[in-house]
Symmetry: C2
Subunit: 306 residues, 2 copies
Amino acid sequence: MSVIYHRVALIGLGLIAGSMAHAMRRAGLAGEIVGTARSAETRKIAAEIGLCDRVVETAAEAVAGADLVVLAVPVGAMGAVAEEISPHLKPGATLTDVGSVKRAVIDAVAPHIPEGVHFIPAHPLAGTEHSGPRAGFAELFDNRWCLLVPVEGTDPAATARLRALWEGMGANVEEMDADHHDLVLAVTSHAPHLIAYTMVGVADDLGRVTDSEVIKYSAAGFRDFTRIAASDPTMWRDVFLNNKEATLEILGRFTEELFALQRAIRTGDGEMLHDYFTRTRAIRRGIIEAGQDTEAPDFGRVKERR
Amino acid sequence: MSVIYHRVALIGLGLIAGSMAHAMRRAGLAGEIVGTARSAETRKIAAEIGLCDRVVETAAEAVAGADLVVLAVPVGAMGAVAEEISPHLKPGATLTDVGSVKRAVIDAVAPHIPEGVHFIPAHPLAGTEHSGPRAGFAELFDNRWCLLVPVEGTDPAATARLRALWEGMGANVEEMDADHHDLVLAVTSHAPHLIAYTMVGVADDLGRVTDSEVIKYSAAGFRDFTRIAASDPTMWRDVFLNNKEATLEILGRFTEELFALQRAIRTGDGEMLHDYFTRTRAIRRGIIEAGQDTEAPDFGRVKERR
């Protein structure tokens, strides 16, 4: 593959930006990768492990001369960073982000985009429970989806170029409208995360069952919740505060359904439970067929990284 | 390892019994394995794949002369099977089960146990989303827990022998009182399963997001719920109907906490959310240290069976 952007600036050096650096290098997609982060400790580690070609102290410095600027900071910090870098953006450059919500990011960032700079919001649907500059790896985006959410009037050529970058990093790319994105993610990601956090919190809080019992016997189902509930707290706080409406809507639907199932348990309505549990299997089958998970019955055993 | 039971009878030939057959053979723990199942189709498949040394038509036939009888049927069917086999049990034999709830199984089975037969309830904490006679594999119990729940007055020698069998099949064994078992499992397994079923049901039901979108973008968190929610519907119906009180108690706690988090989102209380999400990370770390999961950031990629 050949170079798509001569210089890429990564603002924020956590799991996603770090994985982008690895993935761009794997395929030779960037001439030079410049990185920065607010925390001196993060910059130090990134420099030590050679995560970027250059690590600089400020976002303004990082974006100077960059053809692509990636905002990879928590959603709540995007607006302030956009304001800070705005005067330093190179004409013709593309500015993108990797935030998990899109409407709020557009509202916060768009007002700061100077004439002649292409703003193309994006969201790679990939992650692990790990965070920080050491967490990234080149394969994170392989066969995962990246959603592009171009705002009105975006230059199609700029969008095509960003699409080529994500495809070069291994992702499948789709375009979607910001509000629909936020609803889809509320269902597939934001509500499940809040639910998992809640269940882990309940288990931790329960006097009559010790944490050590919860940990020992987690393989019975609970473990899959803890994997979700170990994600970065700052990132997730910002997601919920910035995708409030859609998340609360889905959670409302969720509690309504949960109450119906609770009532079925209380009244002993086995037929209702059985029908419900049968219906949910079809979705799982679809996910396996779509290549988004494996059938291997390896629950919790040691896995190999591809 | 040497033979622990001369003849073992498996009643029910699903994932757990099938895995027991494979695991007993791997370590040479049983002289002969006799199996039966209610469904003729299941018996036919079991015979074809040589799951047991002998597949017979009735439970009464299966238990004749068996030193160990394993009830591996849904929890709701245990009482009827116990009544059926009761007159055919060999004096001195051990009768055990693998049900996910223990108080209800004891109440249903204990009245049918003849004098001189040892009834020792058990519960291996292992499973996959797959069911049926082809689903089993020898490694299912490796490094998983098996809880023994001896009733009052159980012969310690009979318990020690059953423990040796489970250890021989790869499991770690602990003893626990039935009511505590049911509460621990409500937290670590039953409530998480119901919650996962509910979330998958909501996603399936939502008009404005299509199933195909849910499936495509599941890797963002939702996928871990579908893995849980694909388990056997009959088994889970019986679990909820037979561990009603503890499950409803935990679900009550869960909705209380979920409402508190929903309110924090609605009112924009970022500090509360951040604190909550930080606390849940410690439990995850404990699970990894306890060897019940791996740290590898391989989310949804192809995994190797050990």
